[in-house]
């Protein structure tokens, strides 16, 4: 199936993602930041779909927007943030922090521009990956070459679960 209106969807989705990013770092209310982050995550899922990665897009929506952000919202509700909304939101070093971050971003873009790979990066016609077999091929990788990494990831999740429960308990 041929992609349609790629330019329009790319600019729309990346504009939404960047708008969500700006809203996350500037809102006073933490719930507003969380909702803006959900907007960014959904826009990024759309971008993954444009990049022929339907499985990663699905995992992003289910796990990230539907799991991690719900966890964030629960914790925001548990922690009483009324008082912190009236305080000063940005710390004293915000100028040098912003300048350093922007310089880092320019450095990243320069790395790509000055590299030898640039002709490949600006090539227009990239191969369209097959979408139907994307999940199967990722499964072949996950349970084949990267089986060890997969098991380590599940061990990491077990450890994180125990750690989170121990941290949040009233008495250990």
């Amino acid at each position: 199936m041929q992609p349609v209106a790629t330019t329009f969807f790319f600019y729309l989705l990346s504009g939404l993602a960047l708008l969500g990013g700006v809203l996350v770092i500037t809102r006073k209310n933490a719930v507003h930041s969380a909702l803006a982050l959900i907007l960014t995550l959904l826009a990024l899922a759309g971008l993954y779909l444009m990049l022929y990665a339907p499985f990663v897009a699905g995992v992003q929506i289910i796990l990230y927007a539907g799991g991690i952000m719900v966890l964030f919202l629960f914790v925001i509700m548990l922690v009483n943030l009324e008082r912190s909304q009236k305080e000063e939101q940005f710390n004293k070093q915000w100028v040098i922090g912003t300048v350093a971050a922007v310089v880092t971003g320019i450095l990243f873009v320069l790395v790509f521009v000055k590299s030898k790979e640039l002709p490949n990066l600006v090539r227009e016609h990239v191969a369209q990956l097959p979408e139907q077999s994307n999940t199967q091929q990722i499964a072949v990788f996950l349970y084949g070459n990267y089986m060890f990494t997969f098991e380590i990831a599940s061990l990491l999740l077990l450890v994180a679960m125990i750690g989170a429960v121990v941290m949040a308990k009233k008495r250990i």
Partner: protein, 101 residues
């Protein structure tokens, strides 16, 4: 308009990364700092998936592991936040100074 190349996606990912770093460095609310860290991880994911279209599916497999990692780290970070809030009743990063001399 110019056709959309991989470089466009990389620039968007770099911009998201910069926004996340600004959030980590400038905000005083710990919850928003944690959310900015998630923004950084998502920028990295976009970078990986953009390159995986050129170089093979390993990028997408890596990004699945990054999402798993982000979930684990968010859970532990929020647990620490809850434990700290129980002691000090504040979510200000400037007040996390128990180890200061």
């Amino acid at each position: 308009m110019a056709p959309i190349t991989t470089f466009h996606y990389l620039v968007v990912a770099a911009a998201l990364f910069v926004l996340g770093v600004i959030g980590v460095l400038t905000r005083r609310n710990v919850v928003i700092v944690l959310m900015s860290i998630e923004l950084i991880l998502n920028a990295v994911n976009l970078n990986l998936v953009a390159f995986s279209r050129l170089w093979g599916l390993q990028g997408q497999v890596f990004s699945i592991f990054v999402i798993t990692d982000a979930a684990a780290e968010a859970a532990v970070g929020l647990g620490i936040l809850i434990a700290f809030f129980r002691n000090k009743e504040t979510v200000n990063v400037d007040e996390v100074d128990l180890l200061k001399w």
